[in-house]
Amino acid sequence: MSDHETDPSKLPALGRMLLWVDKPGSANKIFWALAVVCGLLFLADFTFEKHGYFDVENLPGFFGAYGFIMFTGLVLAAKGLRVLIKRDEDFYGDKAVDREEYPESGLDKVDHDA
């Protein structure tokens, strides 16, 4: 495979456009843009009358708060689960697919500039 420094002019046009995401500061911009959108979505809850099946649905920002808290909880719980169930890749011996390379005959490894 090629090294990290690839000449951008050799990339496909779409890939070149996307290079923006790796510019310094772009990740910050994306994050804060997302935060602003989330804020707007929270405010949007006040602009219409909700008719949910449950009272809790009618609380402003319920879905946002629930999504945020449960997602965080999920990631933390999964992290804890990993402590319990993580094993080496050869745990099931060397006759398991986790240990093998995919057969080359079924692949067609080609570099973009080949």
């Binding site: 495979m1 090629s2 990290h4 690839t6 990339l11 496909p12 779409l14 890939g15 290079l19 995401v21 790796d22 994050f31 959108v37 989330c38 979505l41 929270f42 219409f48 909700k50 949910g52 099946y53 449950f54 920002g61 879905f63 946002g64 708060a65 629930y66 999504g67 449960m70 997602f71 999920l74 990631v75 933390l76 719980a77 999964a78 992290k79 689960l81 990993r82 169930i85 993580k86 094993r87 080496d88 890749e89 745990f91 099931y92 006759k95 398991a96 697919v97 093998e100 390379e101 995919y102 057969p103 080359e104 079924g106 692949l107 490894k109 080609v110 570099d111 973009h112 500039d113 080949a114």
Partner: protein
């Protein structure tokens, strides 16, 4: 003429015709034409029609056409077409034949109007599909395939046992809605549950799908589990226990998917989670809930295939599907990245993508039935879907850290298959009415209301925000080369060790007994040798001396016998 042939037979005829054609474009074309003809046939079939056939004393119904079987038949044809288009480059007769037989069996099972026909096709899917795993032709794939086959065939054996008992109880083999109660119905339910990957019966799915060939996994992902969903919707709609089974199914896989490294296995967990939503719909059992299940199965087959295709495309070019080895591929595979993002948005149920217009029917029905906990769990599971399928798959493959790999886009036919599937995902999301018209019952549902859209966007984007914070703070677990234990630990690790231990104990007892007997026999021989051998006491006066002794013994015995006689 065409409507006289059961749809499954079209696929079987295609599989035979394959052998007459040379490898290459002609075969590829046949693999694409068969599903098109089949779909065209299913489209033209009259709702309510049947095709019966005598079989010993039974009357089998090979083609029961109603709106429930038709929508599954159509999506299976579409999935077969897309899978075969994606596999256009494959020059392996085994996989080509298996793909047609497998799709044909699944479609045959969907149109089966009786339980015996269902059984034949049920086993057909098991036997045909295992070749898509074995076609990888490695030792690991062979072992995985054997495990898969044992479980899949086992499901069929349980099914036929249940059918026999059910027939004894009711005198009928018709495949209609059943009520759980007798042993027969429980066995049928269990057999469906194995294929539907119920909790603890699920591990064949995560074990086998990452072991199949790149194209084989795309095809596998469509049929077996959705056939089971169809069978449950047909046979056990409104069975309350399914609601709880479904909820557990939506929840537990999201934790495993979060920490799994092999992205094809992540997708298998995610598939399991999506099946949970469908099972909940079946458990609720109202007409709209069943509509939700059928439509979600339809949309799911497409976006799940799309996700497997995009991971497969990366694997085809890099040789791995492990998140720890990938990253930054958007630079040279931007089209694949875009298609993957469409699949991710569809499965996460972003508005304007297919998952949104189908999954919300099931959530709406759970809420309408005032199942508060069930509804909360499903909303949580929806955020979980975003975490592994919406974020993890595209992010760690195409973005995240730069792996340094600069692979080329996959071949044109793969891009085309992904493009068509992605277009369908968006089309269903933007304009769901044609899909709604195909559903088994009248649809009374508006997906695009302000509260639906805002609520769903809040759920997803706040979850995304949480992901951003967890990544920035470094709390999010990194991708590591590892395997995670799951229920298959019991039969891949524990059971062999128990058997080895038991075999050890039994072997020790056996050897001990043999050794003991050996010593006894030796000592008897030595004793005889001592008394009767050349130097023995009995041999010293041999033969006259011992003859006198034996005559006196005989005489004594005769005396005793005659005394008591």
């Amino acid at each position: 003429m065409l409507d006289q042939i059961p749809t499954a037979f079209l696929f079987f005829a295609g599989a035979i015709a394959l052998f007459a054609l040379p490898q290459g474009r002609l075969r590829g074309a046949l693999l694409l034409i068969v599903p098109i003809i089949a779909a065209w046939q299913v489209w033209g079939l009259e709702i309510g029609s049947h095709q019966t056939m005598g079989f010993f004393n039974f009357e089998l119904d090979l083609m029961r056409v109603d709106k429930l079987s038709r929508i599954f038949g159509l999506i299976f044809c579409l999935a077969a077409f897309l899978g075969n288009l994606y596999a256009w480059h494959v020059r392996d007769t085994v996989q080509q034949v298996a793909a047609l037989l497998y799709a044909g069996s699944a479609i045959g099972a969907v149109f089966a109007g009786d339980l015996i026909t269902l059984f034949f096709y049920w086993e057909g899917t098991a036997i045909a599909s295992v070749f898509l795993i074995w076609a990888r032709r490695t030792e690991g794939a062979f072992h995985t395939g054997m495990r898969y086959l044992v479980i899949q065939i086992g499901s069929g054996v349980i099914l036929i046992a249940g059918v026999a008992l059910y027939y004894r109880d009711t005198g009928s083999i018709a495949f209609e809605n059943m009520t759980l109660g007798s042993l027969g119905t429980w066995l049928i339910f269990l057999s469906f549950g194995v294929k539907a990957a119920f909790p603890l019966l699920h591990n064949w799915l995560q074990d086998s799908y990452p072991a199949a060939t790149i194209t084989g996994t795309v095809i596998l992902s469509a049929f077996t589990t959705k056939l089971a969903i169809y069978a449950l919707a047909r046979g056990f709609a409104g069975t309350e226990i399914l609601i709880y089974i479904g909820v557990v199914m939506t929840l537990f896989p999201i934790f495993f998917a979060e920490i799994e490294n092999d992205l094809r296995r992540v997708l298998a967990y995610s598939l399991n989670n999506q099946l949970g939503f469908m099972i909940v719909g079946i458990g609720i059992g109202t007409e709209m809930a069943l509509n939700g299940t059928a439509s979600h199965a339809f949309a799911h087959i497409l976006y799940k295939a799309l996700l497997f295709m995009s991971v497969g495309a990366v694997m085809f070019r890099t040789g791995t599907s492990k998140a720890s080895e990938l990253g930054g591929l958007y630079r040279t595979m931007p089209k694949t990245a875009m298609f993957c993002l469409v699949g991710a948005a569809s499965i996460s149920a972003f508005p304007l993508f297919s998952g949104f217009v189908t999954k919300s029917i099931i959530l709406d029905q759970a809420a309408a039935g005032h199942m508060y906990i069930v509804w909360l769990a499903l909303v949580f599971a929806s955020a979980g879907v975003l975490s592994h399928s919406g974020i993890k798959i595209p992010f760690f493959m195409f973005f995240a850290h730069d792996s340094g790999m600069r692979p080329k886009e996959p071949p044109f036919h793969m891009l085309l298959a992904m493009g068509i599937t992605a277009a369908l995902c968006i089309a269903i999301g933007v304009y769901p009415e044609p899909l709604y018209a195909l559903l088994p019952y009248e649809v009374d549902f508006t997906p695009y209301t302000t509260s639906h859209v805002v609520g769903q966007l809040q759920l997803l984007l706040f979850a995304l925000l949480a992901f951003g914070i967890l990544m920035r703070t470094g709390i999010h677990p990194p991708e590591l080369r590892a395997v995670n234990l799951d229920a298959d630990w019991t039969y891949r690790w524990l059971l062999p060790r128990i058997i080895r231990r038991v075999a050890g104990v039994v072997g020790a007892i056996w050897n001990g007994t043999l050794a003991f007997l050996g010593i006894r026999i030796k000592s008897i021989i030595a004793g005889l040798h001592h008394s009767h051998g050349p130097e023995g006491r009995m041999a010293r006066a041999w033969p006259t001396g011992s003859m006198v002794i034996w005559i006196s013994v005989l005489l004594g015995a005769t005396l005793i016998v005659s005394f008591f006689g």
